[in-house]
């Protein structure tokens, strides 16, 4: 049977301990220790931060150079097949053949996960309905929009009712509406389906609304791991844009003065380079009260409120906050140069 792991909490869905993965020219993961519980967890990192490498190791498809990892209490080094039976995976890239229908494709993938033929068909119909594909599921995938394709990719990861799904950049290539729908769907995977989720992205902002917990990695090392409320408490910023009126020829300035008088912290820096730059106020948010205050202040001034939204934080903000950054970069750079030479001849093997 399965060898139980001795590290990590029993409740941990994913646990890694000093996990390292070194390729001859790059260190993809550098002594990464994580302890991820049930729920929706965001894994944030810029391109090349080691997100995909981590997923590959968690699926038992690529051995770690050092350290250990466990998924659902199973050791990735010895129980890869058991893990893959209980885990769903949605890749970042396109992976759908264009000439079959979503139904046929997902049924086939369900059978590849070991579901008997009848169950595979039933689960496929259910899952496609849950991800929001209806009549179009009988048409060839080649004619689908990007949003529909992402739903099919999600469906094939969910069709065998896994205990955990690994979603690699599920919002890639989606328009804002599609993005919000996908994020809502990801939230439902946990709340309605009871399946834990690890979702990667390079946008912190979209994950903090969806996830219970966010892990930020950079250069293969842990930069920050905390529950999303920590992030939002310290970093909520509201962008407010208003119109001008006859009474207030410069509405933005009028609002700025009124809000400052009301004791609200305003960020000094105005947004540059974006539409409406110079007309956008960045307001430090302190919960619901701030929304109400902005609304009332705008109403009292008699100017129009164009928009009020939460600013999505870029990953870079977290990097600037952390002093570890430089240290990490130095660590990952060194082996890169040291081992450049020996691995140049391994290219083509086919011819």
């Amino acid at each position: 049977m399965v060898r139980a792991t001795t590290f990590g909490k029993v409740t941990a869905v994913i646990a890694t301990e000093a996990l390292s993965k070194r390729f001859p020219r790059v260190t993809a993961l550098d002594r990464l220790s994580l302890d991820i519980g049930p729920g929706v967890t965001g894994l944030v990192g810029s391109n090349g931060a080691g997100k995909s490498t981590l997923i590959k190791i968690l699926l038992g498809l690529s051995p770690a150079t050092e350290g250990r990892a466990a998924v659902l209490g199973l050791d990735v080094a010895t129980s890869g097949a058991e893990i893959r039976e209980r885990v769903g995976y949605m890749p970042e890239h396109d992976c759908l053949p264009p000439d079959v229908s979503a139904t046929e494709f997902v049924v086939h993938m369900a059978r590849m996960s070991g579901l008997p033929a009848t169950a595979a068909r039933e689960r496929t119909a259910d899952t496609l309905r849950h991800v929001g594909l209806y009549e179009e599921r009988y048409r060839p995938i080649g004619g689908y929009s990007t949003g529909m394709k992402q739903r099919v990719k999600l469906a094939q990861a969910l069709v065998h009712d896994p205990q955990l799904v690994l979603l690699d950049e599920p919002t890639n290539g989606l328009d804002p509406v599609g993005r919000d729908e996908m994020l809502g769907l990801i939230r439902r995977i946990h709340t309605d389906f009871g399946i834990s989720v690890l979702v990667t992205s390079h946008l912190l902002g979209e994950l903090e609304r969806t996830c219970d917990h966010v892990v930020v990695i950079d250069g293969g090392a842990l930069l920050r791991s905390s529950s999303t409320s920590d992030f939002t408490q310290t970093t909520t910023t509201l962008a407010v844009e208003v119109t001008d009126s006859d009474a207030h020829p410069d509405g933005t300035r009028a609002l700025r003065e009124a809000l400052t008088a009301a004791g609200v912290t305003l960020h000094a820096a105005e947004e540059q380079g974006l539409p409406g730059a110079g007309h956008v106020l960045l307001v430090e948010g302190e919960g619901e009260a701030t929304y109400d205050l902005v609304r009332d202040t705008v109403a009292d001034l008699g100017i129009g409120l164009v928009r009020m939204e939460q600013r999505r934080h870029h990953i870079a903000e977290v990097f600037h906050a952390g002093p570890q950054e430089q240290q990490i970069q130095q660590q990952s750079q060194q082996p890169a140069h040291a081992q450049l030479a020996p691995q140049t001849g391994g290219g083509h093997d086919g011819n």
Binding site: S52, I55, K56, L59, L61, S62, A81, E82, R84, E85, V87, Y89, P91, H93, D94, C95, L96, P97, P98, D99, V100, E104, H108, M109, R111, M112, S113, G114, L115, P116, A119, R123, D126, R129, H130, Q156, H160, D161, D168, D192, F193, G194, D349, G350
Partner: protein, 303 residues
């Protein structure tokens, strides 16, 4: 009666959202997944479960194979009693004579069997499931070989049935039929391996088709031509050794040496037992090599 089941006024076509249902049924694991992939690929090799358009070519080629066998049978049965004692084309010679058709079939179906998954990057979805590289390669290889065996063995069954109808010698026909089956089984495994390797190394479907046709047709044409030249130079020893260089002549050599076939080599100079062993060894090495190359090909196809 059915109307009584839905309350009056309710839309009977409405779909009720019954929420998410957990799956507690059985999970059949790796060997089941491998079998499913095998049967899906085998059906796919004849266009079953695919679009109507993709059924056309495999079915036509299959029809041609059976039709040729049926014509041979018709000739044998219609011939006046006593004028024929055996089929005009032997069981072992059938596949060799029709190898352009087999090559065409392989060229059209090997790429669809393997390069679709590579080209559309579906392979990672397989490997993120319990199934492993070995299962995938075995299922695909097995499916292609089985598809070829169906293509080549069914006409032999037609021939055998016809031979019995024509009341040819039962013992001799059964022996010939058995030898023919062994021969096409070997041919199927060899051709499938080579075809899949060519297809897997050329993910663009068009190139895959061209590569397979080139491998089989050109090598057969070249070997046959050189064999004829060698024969006309009376280098009869060279004729049999040249057979090592094309898949079809390899099978011809093996069946001439071991399966009682009369060689299709120029002048009938098929290999003797010694050269026959070499032919057989080359066939087995090519099969093992094809499997190894396929395993290697999928090693890098991670996520």
């Amino acid at each position: 009666m059915a109307t009584e089941l839905t309350p009056p006024g309710a839309d009977p076509t409405r779909i009720h959202n019954i929420g998410y249902r957990k799956y507690d049924g059985q999970r059949l694991g790796r060997s089941y997944a491998r079998r499913s992939l095998y049967s899906q690929s085998l059906r796919g090799a004849y266009g079953l479960g695919r679009s109507a358009k993709s059924k056309v070519l495999p079915m036509i080629l299959f029809g041609v194979m059976v039709l040729v066998a049926a014509i041979i049978v018709a000739v044998a049965v219609a011939a006046p009693a006593g004028t024929m004692t055996k089929l005009p084309l032997s069981y072992t010679a059938f596949a060799i004579s029709l190898q352009p058709v087999i090559g065409l079939y392989l060229a059209s179906q090997a790429p669809q069997t393997v390069s679709r998954d590579l080209r559309f990057k579906t392979v990672p979805l397989y490997f993120s499931r319990p199934i492993e590289r070995r299962d995938y390669v075995l299922a695909k290889y097995g499916a292609m070989a089985s598809a070829l065996f169906v293509l080549t063995a069914v006409p032999l069954v037609v021939l055998y049935a016809g031979a019995l109808l024509a009341k040819f010698d039962f013992g001799a026909q059964t022996k010939g039929f058995g030898q023919g089956l062994v021969s096409v089984a070997l041919l199927s495994v060899l051709f499938a391996g080579l075809g899949l390797v060519m297809a897997a190394l050329t993910p663009r479907r068009g190139f895959g088709v061209a590569a397979v046709i080139a491998l089989f047709t050109i090598s057969y044409g070249a070997v046959s031509t050189v064999q004829v030249i060698a024969y006309s130079q009376e280098a009869t020893g060279a004729v049999s050794w040249l057979g090592l260089f094309s898949p079809a002549t390899l099978i011809d050599g093996v069946q001439t040496a071991f399966l009682g076939a009369s060689s299709g080599y120029p002048g009938g100079y098929g290999p003797g037992a010694g050269a026959g062993v070499v032919h057989l060894l080359v066939v087995l090495a090519l099969i093992a090599g094809s499997y190894a190359v396929l395993m290697r090909r999928y090693r890098k196809v991670g996520l």
